[in-house]
Symmetry: C2
């Protein structure tokens, strides 16, 4: 496993403010790793609402099934462990989630139905939930409002840096805060599964409002990134709203269409976008952050499919790794997407330099100029289809030998 | 570019018999490569029928568009060049196909509408068809019945070995012969596009019969392989039937449902399957041939989608490269396919050794035994879904650092 921090890691890490109603604590429970934390407990005040979106995998992990079943009620605790994904573990997996929730409920003093769970790590190994005995009780006692960086570190697997983001917004006349953390790496890292993200706010939002915000928020953030086209069995994004800002006069919002939500929704989406970009920046073996923009499509959905076809193409990704503005491969990826496209109307640019126009090489193409911009750690591929007015954008990273090494060398 | 022959290359190369009515010749026209042949001319007798299947890319190459428009009539000549794909070349690409066909027509003494074309190589570079002037005339004079290996070599790009196959079958009381050749490598090799394959027979088959055979034959052969999920703009498979065996008493077949076709169809499919497997064996950087079998699916189409999801997963492919029987990644790939699957009914085996059963690790799993079989150059991944009776099979190869090097290093 790589221990070098990705060259694409953000250079300024935000100071994470507390969120009223949320306390965090971490511990080393020895689930798999030695010498590092691997359990996070978040304790939320009574009245906290929760929303979630999950992997679309037909073979989801036991914690994903647990969380799906508990949505719509309140939340008092979140337990996240790294080192073991509790995925493809059959009946023992379901038993492990129930036991973990029951230990956490006792520690926090709530119902097991108010405990949310996420696991990331090896697939197919039984998770020994008895390891949480004692540990969660201690964590509940130690939980404090300022442990955000420690929390983000405890949920990492092959991530090379912890991922946090924060924002504030006006809700009515009050200031509310949004904090988020994420882990990524590959959709499955060496033997490990998962993209996990947790977002917390003190805004007083109903579960339905929070779910609506989350569902629309992920569309252009977490659903618009790809590392390697592989979807984990454990992808989980949970949002918690403690409502503590109501004490400062923040209005309680119970309709997603409430106009007072506008500024909050913007800040919430910014946190999601920030975290999602960090996941792309920490893709396994990544040396380049790649932004794919597709314009002039007949629909946004069509633009998304073409952008994903480009972002998932191994040949496009290896070309970027080789600092090659290989627009032929971009054409290939547009063509294979199966969406409306007219070869003779296509234009393609790399970092603002147009290399192909109207279905052929741009007459003004200058190889030296293009080679120079391809050295940039951030590469923007823009495709203009020339068919309609719709547009979309996705983020990915390049495909390097290091990706193959991380995912193929660990046994040999 | 790699010059080492793939370790998966077939060890016995067949002697290619002549096909009555077909003559071949190759030349070095200097399109891109130095010191090797890069043009193939096949000349067919009058009365030859032709069928074709092509890339589904929305951005096909000019030769693909040319061939599609000419199907349904007869064929007298096939011109294939390597080094330049004549793809994404705009109007000049269409002019190049017309000029090439006209030069070939003059050389062979036929109509340009009876000339079929395929190009493989760089995308986006104009193809200078004037280079065929003179060359094709000489080739038409030199064309001979026994140039099959030379032909298979002339159409190579980053292929590490030429790909040929041959079979015979009874048609009525006569023996007829089927010869085929293919080129593959990546869907796009360094800057290059294409899977090309050409199959020839002396059987007297109508165009409609040949098209029907080809359409059903590719389904479980060329359409059931993947190297890297990338689809070229130039994929072309053409079949030609000279009908010369009619002189030996072979019956003329004009209905696809004719029962006399049975043995021929079987042999024809064997040639396609043989060539398709060779393409998988010569995938860029391949060190393992991977056969993915999905059983117990609700439909064959569903089994195909799941098998392709596994075969295209970078994480499954890198695990195979690392000789790791990582069934967690296979579960992941089953889950992301979006097809009916029940985690708790899944069984997975590698080279006949079951590693997962009923949604959890097989209790009899023996790591040492599994590690041993993963050293085999051919890996079979079998997934039993336990839902229905349908089955499918696809071939792929592993994903190695060499793939990334071939496709990413050539510039740096």
């Amino acid at each position: 496993m790589s221990t070098t921090v990705s060259p694409l890691a953000p250079t300024d890490v935000p100071d994470m403010p507390p969120i009223a109603g949320v306390k965090l604590a971490t511990a080393a429970a020895g689930i798999r790793y030695k010498g590092r934390t691997d359990v996070l407990l978040a304790v939320m005040d009574k009245g906290t609402t929760v929303a979630g979106v999950f992997t679309k995998s037909k073979c989801p992990s036991a914690p994903v099934e647990w969380c799906r079943a508990k949505l719509g009620r309140g939340a008092r605790a979140l337990v996240v462990n790294s080192g073991n994904a509790n995925a493809f573990t059959g009946k023992t997996g379901r038993q492990a989630t129930a036991l973990t929730a029951s230990i956490a409920a006792k520690a926090v003093g709530c119902s097991a139905n108010e405990v949310f769970l996420a696991s990331t790590g090896v697939i197919g190994e039984p998770l020994d939930a008895t390891k949480f005995n004692g540990v969660l009780g201690t964590l509940a006692e130690q939980a404090a409002p300022d442990e955000w960086m420690a929390a983000a570190k405890a949920i990492m697997t092959t991530d090379t840096f912890p991922k946090v983001a924060t924002a504030t917004a006006k809700l009515g006349k009050s200031k509310v805060t949004i904090n988020g953390m994420a882990k990524g790496a590959g959709m499955i890292a060496p033997d490990m599964a998962t993209m996990l993200s947790f977002v917390f706010t003190d805004a007083p939002l109903s579960s339905a409002v929070l779910q609506s915000l989350l569902k629309s928020g992920v569309e252009d953030t977490f659903n618009a990134i790809t590392i390697d086209s592989d979807t984990s069995t454990s992808d989980t994004l949970l949002a918690f709203a403690t409502g503590a800002a109501a004490a400062d006069g923040a209005p309680k919002i119970s309709r997603a269409s409430d106009p007072r939500l506008k500024a909050f929704a913007k800040a919430f989406n910014e946190v999601l976008a920030n975290l999602a970009e960090q996941v792309a920046r920490d893709g396994e073996g990544a040396r380049k952050l790649v932004e794919v923009i597709v314009e002039g499509a007949t629909t946004k959905n069509s633009a998304r499919k073409i952008a994903m076809s480009i972002a998932n193409s191994p040949l496009v990704k290896t070309a970027i790794a080789g600092e090659d503005a290989n627009w032929g491969r971009v054409v290939m990826a547009v063509g294979k997407a199966g969406e409306p496209a007219n070869r003779d109307k296509l234009s393609i640019s790399f970092n603002g330099i147009r290399v192909a126009k109207s279905g052929a090489r741009d007459p003004s193409y200058n190889e030296a100029e293009v080679s120079e911009v391809m050295k940039n750690p951030k590469i923007q591929i823009k495709v203009a289809l020339g068919l309609g007015k719709s547009r979309d954008r996705v983020l990915t990273c390049d495909l390097t030998k290091e990706y193959v090494a991380i995912n193929g060398d660990y046994r040999s």
